[in-house]
Subunit: 333 residues, 2 copies
């Protein structure tokens, strides 16, 4: 295995988040399922946005949030995702590069606008996402630079990539290159409805060894194995993948492999403001630890700390240096 | 005086805020004066933005922030300001309308992009603004709808309007219509460097009765009368305008008229996060009280409360209902 240029390379849907605090009635009025991610077309985006209150905008996208978190922890990180060359796409590219992430994907010159996720945050802090994929729809295998993938210790892919029409080919191409270069491939299951859409494909990716590491939250795990029995689902996950990491909100996380099972508690918080990015930042901390070859417990602790930071403010990108935060908490030196 | 359709109509530079937390070294490196607003051209905007970290975007603009605050308090508010018909301009128009503000100014079809203010927030919470006026440069007297001005109890104008080339004509036109309709005209001095640029003109507006009410902070007041003697400056302000309102950060505010002087303390806060919009939201609360014909002390208290809300988070727009906040604090029923 050659020396790695990047600790982690992430591939995902590049999305600009438009966030607003709202009430439960808004979700009901628009027929939204709280806590989920729904794909919407331009007409529905206009209807939802037209009814939304004044918003705050922050760059987002699940894998991108994770990659920014990894960079904030001090690791070398790269991202592949498709924006358009428009005003919002330029804000997006600025933000991810300014976070220290290598981002070389060519923006689309024409076609749909940069994708946006309209995110409703209810008083309980839960986020409900409505995603217009826009230019993210056009991510294709040609956007994958084989040398960049081969030079990355871990390739991290989001399950949401199964939604755009060509992105799954980009996903499979990247995973193949990674394994040819003896790198690791990680997948997040993204969302329980996403799991419902692509259950068999995700299970195949795990069972045929396309992915080595799987991140899931409880509801995604239950959706994957179509059971409400957590222990039974966890046991199946352990059989299906080399390393499984399951987040359980305030109950912390479970890490399972053939050799061991580790439970790591959540980090304490002062106030839950907005859960957007909780899972993404947990994955950031965990992958950072893996890239540094730390024990799973330490990986989980850094993940929990990063998740705790991001849920105490609006938006899914860290607002402080996660490296300094981890140092202050004695998790890294 | 006919019944008013709006309590307050604001006219100002419509600007999208691009906010980032940074350190003192950034300001030094770019030769910025902490706490001030500097006008920048496209080249300098690119240089500053290129060096800025990942940002958060929130609609802004001084008078617009005030008007949104007035709407949030439950009053009827309208705004005149120029954006371009581009992605950012559409975000801007959404946000102000979604706040309940009447906003009818036609967006520019061509010319420069929607204006942006690049705002650096240092660890002490102070904000330093770098404004690319963009489309705001094109606000002109034709954007002033006489019937809208005549139907507004108070017309509120920002001193910053002296910067774009035609906006001061729009300002004077609006003030004339307002007085013809026996309405009140209020002016904020905006920024001490702005006062330095237009001192004589601002004093003329006050002394010839074009404006009835002036908002200033301490440094703007000192700049206006070129003195460091607060009491002497306040005395001159009382002579020059019917109603003067001077904010003094944590020391509260002073309200002066020919009849009385009132000191109102600041509202307590848990944590100073970002001073962006402090003066704008103070003016919102004060003008709301004036439109409701409340005593000056109550006007100042509502202003102090609104300012306290906005400085405890990133961005210059309120994140909660100011009406509910004022009710909880027993300031309105």
């Amino acid at each position: 295995m050659a020396d790695a240029k990047y600790d982690v390379l992430g591939i995902g849907n590049a999305l600009f988040d438009v966030l607003v605090r709202t009430d439960e009635a808004f979700l009901a009025r628009h027929g939204m399922t709280k806590g989920s991610m729904s794909l919407i077309d331009e007409a529905r985006a206009a209807a939802i946005y037209g009814d939304m209150g004044p918003a705050t905008e922050v760059s987002g996208g699940s894998a991108a949030n994770t990659i920014v978190g990894i960079a904030s922890l001090g690791a070398r990180a790269a991202y592949v995702g498709k924006v358009k060359d428009d005003q919002i796409g330029r804000l997006y590219a600025h933000d991810i590069r300014a976070a220290g992430v290598a981002f070389q994907t060519a923006p689309a010159k024409d076609g749909p606008a940069t994708g946006c996720s309209y995110i409703l945050v209810t008083p309980d802090g839960e986020r409900t996402m409505n995603t217009y994929l826009g230019a993210a729809q056009d991510l294709s295998p040609t956007d994958i630079d084989p040398s960049e993938v081969a030079a990355s210790r871990i390739v991290y892919l989001e399950g949401y990539l199964w939604d755009p029409k060509n992105a799954k080919e980009a996903f499979v191409k990247a995973a193949g290159i990674a394994h040819d270069s003896r790198r690791k491939v990680a997948l997040t299951l993204s969302d329980s409805f996403c799991v419902d859409r692509y259950r068999d494909e995700f299970l195949s990716l795990m069972r045929d060894g396309t992915v080595d590491i799987v991140f899931a939250n409880e509801s995604e795990l239950h959706a994957l194995y179509m059971t409400s029995d957590f222990d039974a689902a966890l046991k199946q996950l352990r059989n299906d993948v080399n390393l499984g990491v399951v987040t359980r909100s305030e109950k912390g996380c479970m890490v399972v492999s053939a050799e061991e099972s580790v439970a790591v508690p959540a980090s304490p918080i002062a106030e839950l403001v907005d859960t957007t990015g909780a899972g993404d930042l947990f994955a950031a901390g965990f992958l950072f630890g893996l890239a540094r070859e730390l024990p799973y417990r330490a990986c989980g602790q850094i993940g929990a700390l990063a998740a705790a930071e991001v849920i105490q403010h609006i938006g899914a990108r860290p607002q402080v240096s996660l490296k300094e935060l981890a140092q202050q908490n004695g998790l890294v030196i």
